[in-house]
Each structure stands twice: as C-alpha cells, then as structure tokens.
C-alpha cells in the first residue's frame, strides 16, 4: 500500500471506525461516476486498508 492510501485509511478509521470502509467505497463510487477512475482506485484501496486496520485491531 502506498503512503497516501495508508494515511487516508488511518484518518478514516480514526474518525469513523469501521464505517470508514464504506465511506471510502462511496468516495470511490462518486469518482467512478464522474469518470475519475484513478481516484476511484485510490479510494477502493483506502477502503481495503481500513478493513485491514479493523482486522488487525480485532486480532490484537
């Protein structure tokens, strides 16, 4: 994962907890609707990273 993805994921998780993942998905969908596929990919990766953070905390 790239640093911008990790950074965004940490911010989303800190602010919204596991809701951060679905928020990232909605951001990705908004980008895709407007044809910004690079940004859609970024937010999809952020959503996955939030899931990873959540999973890591659950395992801890």
């Amino acid at each position: 994962l790239t640093d911008p993805v990790r950074h965004a994921a940490r911010l989303l998780f800190a602010q919204y907890g596991d809701d951060g993942a679905i928020i990232a998905v909605m951001r990705a969908a908004e980008a895709a609707a407007a044809g910004d596929l690079e940004l859609a990919d970024h937010w999809e990766s952020v959503g996955q990273a939030v899931e990873d953070i959540e999973g890591g905390q659950a395992d801890a």
Binding site: D19, V25, E30, E44, Q48
Partner: protein, 220 residues
C-alpha cells in the same frame, strides 16, 4: 474484498440533473445509480443545440447515510462542442466540504485547462470523461472533469448484448474501460449511452435508465 455488515440508509434523492451536448443529437437521459440494487444517486445528461454549438449539461448527485454519517456528492459540468470538438468546459465538483473545479477552452492550437488538479495545455482533440459520447472511448487520454487532470484511457469492446430499458429489449455494444478501476459502458446502435456499471470493493453500482430511450442524446 470489503465486507459490509452495516445497513446503509440512503436519503431520498431530490435531484435535478441536466446535460447539454454540442454536435450530437439533442436530448436528455436520466439514470438512477443503484448500489447493490438500492438507489444512491442520479446522473443526468441534457444536450441542447443552438447556432451550431452543442451544449451538454451533466449533473451527478449522490447522497445517503452510513450510520450517523451523512455524505453528499454534487457534480455539475457544462460542455460546449462544435461538431465533434470540445470548445469549452466548466465543471464544479463538491464532495461534502471539498470543492474542485475545472474550466477549459479552445485557444488557438491548444485546449487550455485551468483545474484544481492541473493547469496547462492539452491537445485540441481532447475529450472529457463524461461518458455520454461513445467517441470518448476511442481516445487514449481524456480530460478529467473533476479537476482537470489528463488521464490515460483504455477501452475495449466486449461485445453486443441485449439490455432491457423501459421494459423493452435494446441491443447495445458493451465496452470496458480498464484503468486503475474498471467501468463498463453500453451504447445502442445509434450512439446513445444506455448503461453504466462498476464494482468497488465487491459492491455493485449499476445505472438504471429512467427516461425513454427515444429522447436520449445521441453521439452521431
């Protein structure tokens, strides 16, 4: 793959979306955006023509709630075309509290872009990432209508499929854009945009056409 166990509750959408197109046949097309079958937004394109200039107005609205958290997305873009050439564009994009803009116009041998994400020149044959014109898919690069960046574009023809629109079968050509994310687009034989779909982290987003096919703008 993301897993979502939380219920999404999406607000009722009150959306006014319009698009105008330059050159192509005028008309209006309204899509409802469905996430896993539930409405989350609208995407409307309205195309008008006057004095040889086609104007396309694009409006995308999405809103809803994730638990206690509300989200809104607002995208408006006006494109002006002379024939198949983009001559100007003005777009505003708001995602909750974040606003991006891009404007551009044909100046001499360049299309001059002033956007939140890019300022500079593009070739005069650049086309925007608004999918209403199927000719966009023939380009290797496209102008991002959120912030002006120039993005690479790679579309492939998947094949001919039959969609159901307004209860009637419609033969459509299916294209797939392979960028960082994948988007599927469908156009009928006369160049009308009839469908859009994408998957984000395993979630299905599908466009459902609301307005009659006969009144849709056409990329001739």
């Amino acid at each position: 793959m993301l897993k979502f166990v939380k219920a999404l509750s999406f607000a009722t959408l009150s959306t006014v979306c319009m698009t105008d197109i330059a050159m192509a046949a005028p008309g209006r097309t309204d899509f409802e955006i469905l996430m896993n079958g539930r409405p989350v937004g609208r995407h409307v394109v309205t195309v008008t023509e006057a004095a040889g200039v086609t104007t396309a107005r694009i409006a995308i609205d999405m809103s809803g709630r994730v638990g206690p958290i509300g989200f809104t997305y607002y995208h408006r873009c006006e494109e002006q075309w002379r024939g198949s050439q983009l001559i100007s564009l003005n777009c505003t994009d708001r995602e909750n509290r974040s606003t991006k803009t891009v404007s551009g116009s044909l100046v001499g041998t360049n299309f001059v872009i002033n956007g939140s994400g890019f300022r500079g020149n593009a070739p005069t044959n650049i086309l925007p990432t608004s999918w209403w014109r199927s000719s966009t898919l023939r380009q290797a690069r496209a102008l991002n209508t959120r912030d002006g960046r120039l993005s690479s574009l790679s579309a492939t023809r998947v094949g001919t499929e039959t969609l159901t629109i307004g209860g009637a079968p419609v033969q459509a050509t299916h294209y797939r854009i392979r960028g960082p994310a994948t988007t599927d687009l469908w156009y009928d034989a006369t160049g009308r945009w009839v469908g859009n779909a994408f998957r984000i982290a395993g979630q299905s987003f599908v466009y459902r056409k609301l307005t009659p096919l006969a009144g849709a703008p056409r990329d001739s």
